[in-house]
């Protein structure tokens, strides 16, 4: 019980003895974790936009005859990459076109018969396969023309992947930067208490007992830094979500609560682990050298 009391008391003492340094570490950690959380949210948004675009992506292929359209449908229906194939007759296509034009249809469409082709609408299970399927379609003699937003999907996928890589790079940098800050903060705390540590080791304190308050100090600062970052990110996320809804309403880019909670948990875990690990290494290194006999 005495051990826990000592750890608690000395951890508090470390906070107040170097309150300026503790605050500096706390805010640096909060800024680093905010950057980390922000880039992770950005990666989530990019992935969501890319997924939304891809999920609504269809390939449209045109052919002159119903027989040709049916043949294409039959040859593709066994493909595992295709989720749905639908044939659209020229009449149906015309109805859709008229509906889209609304009151302007009469003035914009020529009188008499409009020679629209048969359309084959193909929805893929994975939008990244659109180029492959489009290539397969273009090799079929029945197909006159193909339209799909494959290039857009590819570009979005690449952007999402790039943002994910940037977020990972920021994660590595954040861990290194926050680690360096924790490491130096703990070293300064240790330096100011080196006489005390020497006495403690001489009177028979174990190394873990001497190290515990320093490690707890680092862990708590790491966790608090992450908590501040999470709170700021929630405010930021609400603002970004509202702005995106206003500017790009068709993208439906809301991050779900589940995703945000997972991100929060990851940030808190990273904050806690970073504080713990770097404090542990800093104090272990010092105590090892202090306890080494001459």
């Amino acid at each position: 019980m005495g051990t826990y009391r000592y750890i608690f008391r000395d951890t508090c003492r470390l906070f107040f003895r170097h309150w300026g340094l503790s605050l500096l570490t706390l805010f640096t950690a909060a800024a680093v974790f905010f950057l980390l959380g922000g880039s992770s949210q950005l990666a989530l948004y990019a992935r969501k936009i890319s997924q939304n675009v891809q999920s609504s992506l269809i390939i449209q292929a045109y052919t002159q005859s119903e027989a040709g359209a049916a043949k294409v449908r039959d040859s593709l229906s066994s493909s595992a990459d295709i989720e749905e194939i639908r044939l659209v007759s020229p009449q149906e296509a015309l109805e859709v076109l008229r509906a889209k034009l609304g009151s302007q249809a009469q003035s914009m469409l020529p009188a008499g018969e409009i020679p629209l082709p048969w359309t084959i609408e193909i929805k893929l299970r994975d939008a990244s396969l659109s180029s492959v399927v489009a290539k397969e379609l273009s090799a079929m003699p029945e197909i006159d023309e193909i339209m799909y937003a494959g290039a857009l999907a590819d570009r979005l996928t690449k952007i999402a992947s790039l943002i994910t890589k940037i977020a990972l790079a920021i994660l590595v940098i954040a861990i290194l930067v926050s680690g360096l800050v924790f490491y130096n903060m703990i070293r300064i705390s240790i330096y100011s208490r080196r006489q005390e540590i020497a006495v403690m080791l001489l009177v028979g304190s174990t190394r873990s007992y001497v190290a515990s308050p320093f490690v707890f100090h680092g862990m708590i600062l790491g966790l608090l830094g992450a908590v501040i970052a999470v709170v700021l990110l929630h405010y930021g996320q609400s603002y970004i979500g509202a702005t995106l809804d206003e500017v790009l309403p068709f993208l439906h880019t809301h991050l779900q609560w589940r995703e945000l909670i997972i991100l929060d948990q990851v940030l808190l875990a990273v904050g806690f682990a970073t504080g713990w690990l770097y404090s542990y290494f800093a104090v272990r290194r010092y105590i090892r050298s202090a306890a080494k006999p001459l």
């Binding site: 019980m1 005495g2 051990t3 009391r5 000592y6 003492r13 006489q195 005390e196 020497a198 006495v199 403690m200 080791l201 001489l202 009177v203 028979g204 304190s205 174990t206 190394r207 007992y209 306890a291 006999p293 001459l294």
Partner: protein, 231 residues
């Protein structure tokens, strides 16, 4: 605690010979004055006994344990049997006299209630009950020395080491401290006191071990204080 020192030599880098070929046996419950001029190797010998320093050659065996072979994990438990009073006291400045003593027991995992009782006892024993809540900077040199002694004995050590315990004290306070050391010895503790205090050594006659330039030059039962080279 029984101490056997065999052929002990300590050379600090680059080539400073602190101790040279020392043979010394100290039996359990003995009181030994360690005397010698500054730089004769007294403090190094004390630090070898607490394993802050390892021998370059030779052995320090305490209660049958060769200190060179003592593992890192056993070292804290070994040190709990040794009470040390440093020349500069090494009290923690932000703790009260009472807390400076209690902290040793806390560091050794002694339960709180027991630690409180034992701390109260030793604080009373060294005559600091009325000064127990003061910080070291509010205490006189003699009082600080007594806190350091209380801290060293609170864990009931089997070996008590004191480096110049009366060095900065007036005669009366030094005698008070000396009587404390004798009472610790009377309780069966092995006591080793490194000192320059001729008056105390000659008044309270005990075994005297003299070091000179790192060599053991005298070992006398109930010896007097006379340093080699003194006129």
């Amino acid at each position: 605690m029984e101490i056997r020192i065999n052929g002990l030599t300590k050379i600090f880098p680059p080539n400073i010979q602190a101790l040279s070929d020392i043979y010394l046996n100290i039996n359990e419950g003995e009181f030994v004055y360690l005397i010698g001029t500054t730089g004769s190797g007294k403090t190094t010998l004390m630090r070898l006994l607490t394993r802050e320093v390892l021998p370059t050659r030779g052995q320090v065996v305490m209660d049958g344990i060769d200190l060179r072979r003592l593992s890192t994990s056993s070292l804290p438990y070994f040190r709990r049997d040794i009470g040390v009073v440093f020349q500069d006291y090494k009290l923690l400045p932000y703790l009260s006299a009472w807390e400076n003593v209690a902290f040793v027991l806390e560091a050794c995992g002694v339960p709180r209630a027991e630690a409180r009782d034992r701390t109260d006892d030793v604080i009373d024993k060294v005559g600091l009950w009325n000064r127990r809540d003061l910080r070291p900077d509010q205490l006189s040199g003699g009082e600080q020395q007594r806190v350091a002694i209380a801290r060293a004995i609170v864990n009931a050590p089997r070996l008590f080491l004191a480096d110049e315990p009366t060095g900065n004290l007036d005669v009366h306070t030094a005698e008070y401290v000396m009587r404390l050391l004798l009472s610790i010895h009377a309780a069966g503790t092995t006591v080793i006191v490194a000192t320059h205090d001729q008056h105390l050594v000659d008044t309270y006659r005990q075994r005297v071990v003299e070091l000179h330039m790192g060599r053991l030059v005298r070992d006398e039962r109930e010896g007097r204080y006379s340093i080699s080279g003194d006129v």
